[in-house]
Symmetry: C2
Subunit: 207 residues, 2 copies
DNA sequence: GCGAAGTTGGCACTCAGTGCCATGTGAGGC
DNA sequence: GCCTCACATGGCACTGAGTGCCAACTTCGC
């Protein structure tokens, strides 16, 4: 007997409602801007009340920013999948490969880029985006620390955090450079270049 | 004839009111937490109306986070003061020296650390803090870019942003490690260690 | 003393977000 | 078919941040 539904019905309708909300909200944001769109408007456009909206998203911000949570798990998994003896810097470079999500549909692609622009240009969203990224880094720092020391116990060595932070800075820099370019060159090339400017000392230090 | 007042009276009373507000607000935050303290309470404790509070600070967040703006200017100045031919990584290390503001009064010192803890543990404040730091980095990136290329024109080279971002990541990592330590060793030592794990390629690339 | 400019408080308003409750509605047990 | 339980929903009232507006007051130059 096969297990028919590991994901229950309730959960699936819930996700359906969430994607629906996200979709109509994006339309509104792109048309009239993030701050000039009220939660009431979004809820009405999706055919529900404001009260119900907040049962699907904890805040208006999360409607936009929430997707970066999945991101965190995917990156942690990706790092775990790298071979133990690979240099950490190279592992991180490989982990960033998953950020290159190939969206085929050019329409959808344009939408995503427009939403990124909204996040970048809305201070409140940008702030929350940075905070999410910080959380992703925390996940990776623990893993890098165990790799470098071979121990699970967290030390007061700033090296793992420095390395992970530097890698993310490179990703950020590459993304910035790429998105303002003509986009003929692939993003991965920019990432390689950014990460090549930095060399990491992987020596284990016992403090 | 000497210029008697380059800073007009209005401006000084304004700053006085701001520091007064900051002081009473900190008392309240430390006593009952940031989120459980309303602007009305702060304003009342400082003997003014909520409406007037918002004439001194654009938001409740800025009361806590605003000081990091001065920070940005000081760091930009500090970088400009470094010799042209000094390696960039070393210049950045020197720039971070100004973050070690030696507060003699142990009472004031404890207060500052408690406020830092509030920022760290309040997601909304932490997010805004990260965004401020991002702005500081933008200021420095332009200067580093000119140093590396010798040109004023911004290029699409991700290297300057990567280097500055990596340096800030090191500072962040060092700060984290130091603040959870017993604080016998000075912060500067942690900073040295964090920044020593990373080596930077300062070769100019023309893209 | 007088007018202009700036400061303040109060009021009413918008919008995000929450607690509470009453009303659906679908699935399963009998 | 009917009943019940679990959950979803909407509505309402509320708090708290932040803003526009106006009327009263203070301060400063003349």
């Amino acid at each position: 007997m096969i297990e028919p539904k590991p994901v229950p019905i309730r959960e699936r309708t819930r996700r359906l409602a969430q994607t629906e909300l996200t979709s109509v909200a994006q339309d509104l944001f792109l048309a009239q801007g993030y701050e000039d769109t009220t939660v009431d408007q979004i809820a009405a456009a999706a055919g529900m009340s404001k009260r119900t909206f907040f049962r699907y998203f904890p805040s208006k911000d999360d409607l936009v920013i929430g997707k970066y949570d999945l991101f965190a798990d995917r990156m942690a998994e990706a790092l775990d999948a790298r071979p133990e003896d690979e240099p950490v810097w190279q592992s991180l470079r490989r982990v960033f490969d998953i950020t290159l999500d190939y969206v085929e549909d050019p329409h959808q692609r344009a939408r995503n880029e427009a939403m990124e622009e909204i996040v970048r240009s809305t201070p409140q969203l940008h702030a929350r985006y940075l905070e999410k990224m910080q959380r992703v880094q925390q996940l990776l720092i623990g893993r890098v620390a165990t790799r470098l020391t071979g121990q699970d116990a967290p030390t007061s060595d700033p090296a793992p955090a420095a390395i992970v932070g530097a890698a993310f800075a490179c990703m950020q820099a590459a993304h910035q450079a790429w998105s303002t370019s003509d986009k003929n060159e692939p993003f991965g090339r920019y990432l390689d270049r950014a990460m090549a400017t930095i060399r990491v000392d992987e020596t284990t230090r016992t403090l």
